[in-house]
Symmetry: C2
Subunit: 235 residues, 2 copies
Amino acid sequence: MNKSIQAIESEIKAIYNVALSVDCVIFGFEENKLKVLLIRSDMEKFQSKWSLLGDLLKAEEDIEAAAYRILKQRTGLDDVFLEQVAAFGNLSRHPAGRVVTIAYCSLINVMHHELKIYDNELHWHDVETVKDLAFDHQEIFETCYKRLQKRVQEHPLGFSLLPNKFSLRELQNLYEAILGIKLDRRNFRKKFFAMDFLIDIDEIETDVPHRPGKLYRFDYEKFEMKKKKWSGIDF
Amino acid sequence: MNKSIQAIESEIKAIYNVALSVDCVIFGFEENKLKVLLIRSDMEKFQSKWSLLGDLLKAEEDIEAAAYRILKQRTGLDDVFLEQVAAFGNLSRHPAGRVVTIAYCSLINVMHHELKIYDNELHWHDVETVKDLAFDHQEIFETCYKRLQKRVQEHPLGFSLLPNKFSLRELQNLYEAILGIKLDRRNFRKKFFAMDFLIDIDEIETDVPHRPGKLYRFDYEKFEMKKKKWSGIDF
DNA sequence: AAAAGTCGTGTAATTTAAACACAATACAAA
DNA sequence: TTTGTATTGTGTTTAAATTACACGACTTTT
């Protein structure tokens, strides 16, 4: 009890002197390219640089709720894929002081929200050309992108980026865009048919300058039924 | 005196309404069981409950540095596997107020630190029987355990839990303990020899009541050389 | 010297993945 | 109407990985 008020004050500040924010890495798919939604930084230090969509947590606000709030504000969508990826807390990551951020990855179907995006400072970027983001957002983006590449191979996330009805060509284009590789069309089809989660809805593409492909829907119900199999040791 | 401290505290809290902590889920392996290191909660509300090892971040302390600090304090080890798993921030997770915690997963070789553990309130628990932890630590523990089960199949983490020299039987026991399944001994060997990361150090087990097995070391160098192969879409 | 227990290796059957070819369909151009 | 072009849809064949399963070899214990 010999401590001075000042000592106690700085102790308390030491505990509470951290601000928390959420940053969203929002992926979309358009013209057979994987895109990420960026906004111009509003900080002078990062003038002219692009940054992720983020905000400080409000008092009494749940972390995931904050991520949904940001998504809703920017895209108008609230029923979207959202997943926590990692926390970033480098001491020097934010010029205003100590701000730890929790990064979320989100996948949205661009078709569903096009109208709201024509804000001057908001833009879909091709993931291949994203560079030199504000803050530590380049690192956050790359972490989320790698996480997406891995996750999309093990879980049916990708369908969030496509229309409800899609052709197998669209699906393959999506996977090729996300993974950055070319896949054999025949083996790709065989693989997905073998997984047996695609519902043939007995419709075909329209407005294509060639033989139209059949359209499918992903069977989320059936997917939920099947328990994940043992994947096997391999590294 | 108390009043002014509280006044200061609530002032500061009004601005920085979140405290940040780190919790470590420290796994070990002993007697062919996967263990986790727990400590008695020091909070009255959770009297008699076990909790993870955690602490508030100090001012100007990097998050990962805090995790290493906790590990060092509790186990005496500082060159150990450590990996961020997730942030947990439920509004009601901590009785003292808003505390967001970043969970880290750590794997340590029990043999290397045995001497420091005989603190009354610190104990290795069999992961199978961990239940009813303090705070939201049950959820954190389960998240980290699942993450470990997945990661150990894709990366050579498991060797951190074993002595430098180990037999294939020990390695298999480790995998069976982590994954909670039985594996065919012959196929397990074939698999690991095919991966070709085990160095035969030309020694054999001692003090076993049967034919001794050969001892191996993991070749981290060779592992770093090989780039991770394409794993394939499957869910 | 025999029994008990685990080590180390191998083979056959099955499943999965990779490489590859061709007819069928729709549109566009002549 | 016919022909050319592009893409769909469906195989097959080969190689690689996984699974299931068996037997002799080696050390300690009795």
